[in-house]
Subunit: 211 residues, 2 copies
């Protein structure tokens, strides 16, 4: 299982410093939607991270104008971009096609969509489907149960990521469960007093617990 | 009825020049999602438009982290920000509250949501509800019929905007219909050979045809 560390709601300078420090430790570094909307893709292009180890995900959260946003997004160093499952099928087809043409990856964010919608887009075979408990919905997310239920309901979906206040115990349980490809951890790494130690602790937790 | 001219998928410099020229003509100038995501809110703050006549709408398309995005958004000169109806109710409550606290306006984008969802959020009384035909879904949007159907289904919703390839004939028909508060015109103004003449033509069309 991969660890994706999300950086959000900080200045670009702070984000870039932290991203470079996290590069040797985690699998994927996410620059969150706040960084995209506060600073923009053009600015991100001018401040390349030149990551040596981790992949870079930009949380674009595309809703519309799929081809434009993903073409712009992949002009940065991003390896992975995100789009909303709640978008039109046409938008999702556009972002998926751009991603495949460029040999990159796409995460489809399942925020607030129902099973019927997921069924309609489950054929986007190479996409990562992101189970996403809204930050605005507050605490109390049963990540392990949600992943188990999702896998039972949509066994055909191969790539699953999960986000939403995941702590160390949940991370271990998700690793043992063996369904999710990726866990996404935000504040519990980037907001920790010592983010690097927090990231190392998460990495050890998800790797040592695999049976 | 108001005319909102949307500027999208151009450089920031070109957008600012066009916005200033359109300021005396149209009611609302929209800087589209592409400008927010390409350049960012921090950059937009550094390049104030100082509009004299028109209101400024930034098409943020907030999905999550509502309080943060709207607080950041209103640090620009924006009078109106947008959020997606497909967001969680908690996110919509946050963006609505920030908007009301600041005495500003919010447009809730109804892209890809069903009637059940609209019913759940129709109590957000001061919001403008945006009927939005996805650009990615291609041509063929019956704007007048869609507005009529919407008003019949949700008579309690007072403020309606409509977007999606609206041409001059549709603009006239929408003005005569008298339901929508605002029509949003993108490429047919900003992409015209002469955007100022196009904007004037739309303004004349929607005002002269009111009975």
């Amino acid at each position: 299982m991969k660890l994706q560390a999300a950086i959000d709601r900080v200045t670009l300078d702070d984000a870039l410093v932290l991203a470079k420090k996290l590069d040797p430790i985690v699998d994927i570094i996410e620059l969150g939607t706040s960084l995209v909307k506060d600073y923009g893709l053009v600015t991100l292009r001018k401040h390349p991270l030149n990551l040596k180890h981790a992949q870079l995900l930009l949380d674009l959260k595309t809703n519309d104008e799929g081809a434009y946003e993903f073409t712009q997004g992949f002009k940065t160093e991003a390896d992975i971009l995100t789009a909303m499952a709640a978008s039109s099928r046409q938008t999702l087809d556009q972002v998926y096609d751009v991603t495949m043409q460029q040999g990159k990856q796409i995460l489809i964010d399942l925020l607030e969509v129902d099973d019927q919608r997921i069924e309609q887009i489950a054929d986007l075979d190479h996409a990562i489907f992101g189970l996403h408990h809204s930050k605005d919905a507050g605490a109390g997310f049963d990540a392990v149960g949600t992943v188990a239920h999702f896998h039972e309901r949509f066994p055909q979906i191969k790539h699953v990521a999960v986000a939403g206040g995941i702590d160390l115990d949940q991370a271990k349980a998700l690793a043992n469960q063996g369904i999710a490809d990726t866990i996404i951890v935000g504040g519990k790494i980037s907001g920790a007093d010592d983010p690097l130690t927090a990231a190392k602790t998460f990495m050890e937790a998800i790797h040592n617990d695999i049976n």
